[in-house]
Symmetry: C2
Subunit: 201 residues, 2 copies
């Protein structure tokens, strides 16, 4: 699989950060996915959203459509995900998301993903092989040291070289150990959705 | 009415910017109100939301409750509103909002409010006197010159001296002619609500 090359990473690079909102776990229903367009780690440029099934299989497709349908799409340079699983175990296949959007994908976690734990949890779900394949497709887990203070995060990527992904993570993490687009996507998604709302779907 | 004094306006002053989402005009229903907590004009710290009636009379009360119920409330120093009317002609009485929250209020418009136009529009609505009194309660309309490039906005205020309000507007308007909290509240409120959603309420 080829990768996008970044000759330089501008401080104002346009990135999309994606996180999920509040939902009732293990219960049939939908969860809101919020995408936040950020100029590097500096300022917010736009928001977008979609709905996916709790523990469903539609995260990759719905997130791809959200991105492709957005007026911001032509300007975006990279997609960042808060982990690989959304709305429970609705797994994003980052290789497929890269193919569908033609944009490099970086999935970031604060904790190192425990693949044995995840494999065990998937046993209780339908289509466990499909979910597990999407998890494996995310490839190697890289530890990223976030500076003097000892902070570290974990990253998986598709369509981008490791060294470019690291540059983008560092340039965009202006206020915390994670890229600003993901920090803000988390605040908006968890702050503006509620159990009351998710139960309406 | 007394005012809050600001000895200095810190670059990281905590402000709340409030705007409304998409709604069906002149039709019974609700609109989402989004509040965005910003550190000055620098970075986003939180979000909150509530629902008000289209052309209703509950904006002041619902926005006050949203603020008082928020975990961010004790840290907030000033409230900024995108105009005085939300969800159609649901007018915020900024004097009352100041009394209820004990926080200074600054209402900002890109265009000079045309009070004659507004008075005419109110004629078609129930409780027109109550709405008009809330409009009048907002007091003098100040023109604010936003620097060399000739941009200007208009401000009304309660609970704050004009010179302090101007300082806060200038410190927080880092990316455009309007305070960052209001620019971002507008993007979030209009980007994450839709007619489909507002029709559900």
């Amino acid at each position: 699989m080829d990768v996008k090359r970044f000759r330089v990473v501008k401080k104002e690079i346009r990135v999309l950060g994606i996180d999920d909102g509040v939902f009732v776990p293990q219960k049939k229903g939908k969860a809101t996915i919020v995408g936040v367009v950020y100029r590097g780690g500096l300022w917010l440029d736009g928001v977008m959203s979609t709905q996916i099934e709790v523990d469903g299989l539609d995260a990759t497709e719905k997130i791809a459509s959200m991105i492709l349908d957005s007026p911001h799409y032509p300007q975006l340079r990279v997609i960042m995900l808060n982990g690989l699983t959304f709305a429970g175990f609705n797994v994003v296949d980052i290789k497929k998301l890269y193919e569908k959007t033609d944009l490099p994908i970086i999935a970031i976690s604060r904790e190192k993903p425990d693949l044995n734990e995840i494999k065990k949890a998937l046993e209780n779900l339908p289509n466990k092989d499909k979910r597990w394949n999407a998890m494996k497709n995310a490839g190697e887990i890289f530890k990223v040291d976030m500076g003097k203070s000892g902070g570290k995060i974990y990253a998986q990527m598709a369509g981008i070289a490791q060294k470019d992904a690291l540059k983008i993570i560092k340039v965009t993490s202006t206020r915390s150990y994670i890229p600003e687009a993901l920090r803000v996507a988390h605040i908006i998604a968890s702050g503006l959705t509620s159990l009351r709302e998710s139960s309406k779907h």
